[in-house]
């Protein structure tokens, strides 16, 4: 058995060595196009496509165009692994942007790590993602860095806040790690966490949680959940008479929640890793392209996917200057690309960013936005200074 495995492994290595890099340069994108996270995944797909269009319109990689190869990673681990496997061994991509969920990243990223293919997570915010391996990095700042900004802003808006109620979706990995950060920040700011309530992302009735929150007499409510459940929870809080400030987590960070909580969304504070108001030239181009096509401001998920593709392209450009990409052998280029991604500095719509040696993003600036509703259906994220 060992000998068979060895022969096949050697065969694989030999086959991979014989391959030259094709033009246009194939970059893999494995995001959720179907399944229950497709609401977020679709925004990411839009962002990646805009990046491809922009990069190729500007001459691609010093004259060689790039080509994004999309594979649906859906919302589960098996599909993400299959998507990665397809991109690596069938499409011969130089690197991969994806997958959508942190839980999927824990399953699929080791596949890329073993095949020595660089991966950039566009929305994997859980603890431990860059530590999966040398070839794994992310352009999404971890919750522990982004979330505390929202509480600080809430305290600035209302310095009298003393008692905090914390609510979170217990079956969602992202919400669970985010609520940990929120609770630590609240304590660090000298606030009193008076109640902690759990719910499920599939819940629609939050009477129990809302009643406990109202009874606890909290003057700030912090909600970590996803768009549908989080939106409904905010709506029911307001309907039952809660008047204070509400801080929402990143799961609520999409305009898809407006139709859910309608006018009750008004005033919810959400920390952002991205702002359409970011002044960099890279962002202004992105916002213009996005607005022209979709008649609204780009959301954070689209910006992060755009940044992922852009980082790959910028790193490839540096390598290409040293030695033309199409003369590289694929495995060597993948390794070089990984090194270059970690070494470089990038001007993306998220602002200027770099990576530390693990592949963790070092992002300069974060933002806080407050939802302002025009009517029951339309609203916007207004960025607070």
């Amino acid at each position: 058995m060992k000998r068979v495995a060895l022969t096949v492994t050697l065969g694989l290595v030999a086959a991979a060595h014989a391959q030259k890099v094709q033009a246009p340069i194939p970059i893999g994108v494995a995001l959720a196009q179907t399944g229950n996270v497709a609401l977020l995944g679709q925004e990411q797909v839009i962002g990646a496509r805009l990046a491809e269009k922009y990069i190729n319109a500007r001459g691609g990689i010093n004259g060689t165009p790039i080509r994004l190869i999309f594979q649906d990673a859906s919302g589960d681990e098996n599909t993400a692994i299959n998507a990665f496997q397809n991109l690596i061994s069938k499409s011969n991509v130089v690197g991969i942007v994806g997958p959508t969920l942190s839980q999927q990243a824990f399953a699929a990223d080791p596949i890329a790590e073993r095949a020595r293919v660089p991966v950039l997570g566009p929305s994997n915010t859980a603890k431990g993602i860059p530590q999966i391996g040398n070839y794994v990095a992310r352009v999404s700042a971890p919750v522990a860095v982004v979330a505390p900004n929202a509480i600080r802003t809430a305290l600035r808006l209302d310095p009298k806040i003393k008692k905090v109620a914390v609510l979170y979706a217990q079956n969602d990995a992202f919400s669970v790690s985010e609520t940990g950060t929120f609770q630590e920040t609240a304590k660090a700011q000298g606030l009193d966490v008076v109640t902690v309530q759990k719910f499920q992302t599939t819940d629609t009735d939050f009477t129990t949680q809302v009643t406990s929150t109202l009874n606890s007499d909290a003057d700030l409510v912090i909600v970590s959940g996803l768009a549908a459940d989080g939106g409904n929870l905010v709506k029911q809080l307001r309907q039952l008479g809660y008047k204070g400030l509400i801080v929402g987590g990143n799961g609520l960070n999409t305009s898809n929640i407006f139709p859910v909580c309608q006018q009750y969304c008004d005033g919810v504070i959400i920390a952002q890793a991205y702002s359409p108001a970011q002044p960099s030239a890279a962002n202004q181009v992105f916002v213009k392209d996005y607005r022209a096509q979709y008649k609204k401001d780009p959301p954070q998920f689209a910006a992060q996917a755009y940044a992922g593709v852009q980082v790959m392209a910028d790193a490839l450009r540096v390598i290409d200057r040293r030695k033309k990409l199409t003369t590289w052998e694929l495995p060597a280029l993948r390794t070089e690309l990984n090194k270059q991604i970690l070494a470089g500095k990038y001007n993306t719509p998220l602002g200027e960013l770099r990576f530390d040696k693990d592949g963790e993003i070092l992002q300069k600036q974060f933002y806080v936005a407050q939802i302002k509703m025009k009517d029951a259906k339309n609203g916007s994220f207004v960025f607070l200074k």
């Binding site: 495995a5 694989l12 098996n78 990995a173």
Partner: protein
Amino acid sequence: MTEFLAQYGFLIVTLVQAGLLGLSLYFPLQAGQLSLASPGFYAVGGYVAAILLTNPAFLGLRESLGNAVFPLSWLAAALICGVLGVVVGVPALRLRGIYLALATIAFVEILRVVSLNLAITGGAVGIFGIPQAFGFQDRWQYIFLFGPLLLLTLLFARQVERSRVGRAFRAIREDELAADAMGVPPTRYKVLAFVIGAVLAGIVGAMSAPFLNTWNAKQGTFDASIAILAFVLIGGSRNIWGPVVGGALLTAVPELLRFLADWRLVINGLVLVVASLYLPQGIVGALQGGRRPAPPRRPPSVPVVVEAKGETP
């Protein structure tokens, strides 16, 4: 060949894995029990292996055992799932039909919520960074684990069917009261069939945790119960090949149709609808010409008695 393995290796192993999970539902079904508990035991088995392979508490054990820790994890999963199977089976199997199905779904849900709340199971994030079984480098190598397990299970299933126990299972499936009256203790056999399924699902889970690299509460859910039930129903519930064929087919279709992008899930749905409308006995049942398996040969005296009564033309 090597490229084929690199690309489809994961899928091939997943097909075998789906077949095994289908079989774990097939055993209770053989005794007429519609149990949807398999994903629960699958999840437990996976957690047992994941904890054994990553938890710092077992570091010493892992270092002293080396690769032998993997068979140990299967054994531990099998034992724990077997005991859990008895504990759950004895009260749950007093229920019949749809009520049993509901009770087992509740069991799966309870396990899910428990795993979301325990620190040792990693809460909602689950357990990640699980080391690879025997240092496997590629996904397809897991066929060396799942392949023999499938062969063993099929052989075992065949032997059970031909044995006294298999006949008791069938008797209970066809008519529990009659079987009871004939001196076949239904509870004992029903629990036995349930536990066999639980142990199998647990071992599959323990092998799957390193295969998937990570393990979390999403692995054993109500959705998974329904998917596995579909494997058995589409494949055919009266033949050991049914769950294997159904599991392989339903896992393969959405992956092989990747080039259709969003349409692939539509096609998958169509396969389900068409198969359940036109193949009530499942695919394997249809291949056998829709016949039920031939009844065991009767003693020669029986037809004579029937003839004497003048009931046959």
